[in-house]
């Protein structure tokens, strides 16, 4: 990771080096945005909508999003469902195990701010942004697959705008 951070500083010294780095940004960004593999991580009813989005009717594969059963192979964690205080350290552990660049989508009201469990709950973490940095928030209880699509497209926009070394 340290090496790729030095690439722009090294290349841009040469004539035409700026073109190289900006084109590299585009290539890297396009590749990453087109293959956001997400972690199989569903903790409540949002996971059902996530499954629907992944199945053939909504077909996540056409965004290049394929589920992975291991955090080591995934770029994105879609926190689908209520994160309890007992689950929070496990979510953090999974996030830490993912290789950079890594992204988080908070799907559903529970992960945005506790949602229906905001009041009178001793067990639910009120927003997963207390635990992991969140890139896209998708409200809804649960959000429909269309909303999830919108969130993923927003994340793709964000990934495409990134420069080399931003995430390193």
């Amino acid at each position: 990771m340290g090496l790729i951070k030095k690439v722009p500083a090294f290349v841009e010294k040469f004539p035409g080096g700026g073109i190289v780095t900006t084109s590299l940004d585009k290539i890297f960004g396009y590749s990453q945005a087109s293959s956001l593999w997400y972690l199989l991580f569903g903790t409540a009813c949002c996971a059902i909508e996530l499954m629907a989005a992944g199945a053939s009717r909504y077909d996540f594969d056409r965004l290049g999003m394929i589920f992975r059963a291991s955090p080591r192979q995934s770029d994105l964690i879609i926190a689908a469902g209520t994160i309890t205080k007992k689950m929070a350290p496990r979510l953090r552990l999974l996030y830490d195990q993912m290789a950079q660049p890594r992204y988080v989508i908070a799907m559903g009201g529970c992960t945005v701010n506790g949602g229906p469990f905001y009041y009178d709950s001793y067990a639910v973490e009120k927003g997963i942004d207390h635990i992991v940095p969140v890139d896209v928030y998708i409200p809804g209880c649960p959000p429909r697959p269309e909303s999830l699509y919108e969130g993923c497209l927003k994340l793709q926009e964000k990934v495409k705008k990134q420069k080399i070394g931003d995430w390193a």
């Binding site: 709950s121 001793y122 009120k126």
Partner: protein, 157 residues
């Protein structure tokens, strides 16, 4: 055995040890008056040939701020019977006998009641950390008077 017959049978068998309560149209509901006799009562209905209560559906608790109620839901698969009964405990220092000796499935329900309500279960083999997070040190969260720094009560509307 329908509802009236079951109520009559239990009242005949246990006399004034139990009291029939009205609780909606669905299941018969009883109060076991003496909390010391709860284990014996469970064993009696389990071993009774007319009842054959072989299945413990659930044990749950209610905190009414003045007292604790422990509610047992039981059923007989063989005789197709279902009913509930409860015992009433003091709010200060609540204690109840474990019914693991009657139904082994009572284990986890009783651990849950201990952890969430702080009702002490006597003669239970392993009361302790069970459902709450490993580093939990904030007491029994299902009690009415429970509070914590990040606990937000529903405002009155």
């Amino acid at each position: 055995m329908d509802r009236e017959k079951l109520t009559a049978y239990l009242q005949e068998k246990f006399g004034d040890k139990i009291e029939a309560l009205t609780c909606g149209p669905v299941e018969p509901f009883f109060l076991v008056k003496n909390k010391e006799e709860i284990l014996q009562f469970c064993k009696d209905i389990r071993d009774d040939l007319e009842l054959q209560i072989d299945y413990l559906c659930a044990i749950t608790a209610v905190d009414t701020t003045e007292k604790f109620e422990i509610i047992y839901s039981v059923a007989s698969v063989a005789k197709k019977i279902r009913f509930d009964y409860k015992v009433i405990l003091d709010h200060d220092n609540p204690e109840i006998d474990s019914v693991i000796d009657a139904w082994a499935g009572a284990d986890w329900y009783e651990r849950e009641i201990w952890e969430l309500y702080g009702v002490k279960i006597k003669n239970h083999p392993s009361l302790g950390q069970f459902l709450l997070p490993d580093d939990w040190n904030q007491g029994h969260p299902m009690r009415r008077d429970w509070d914590a720094p990040d606990f937000i009560r529903m405002p009155e509307f």
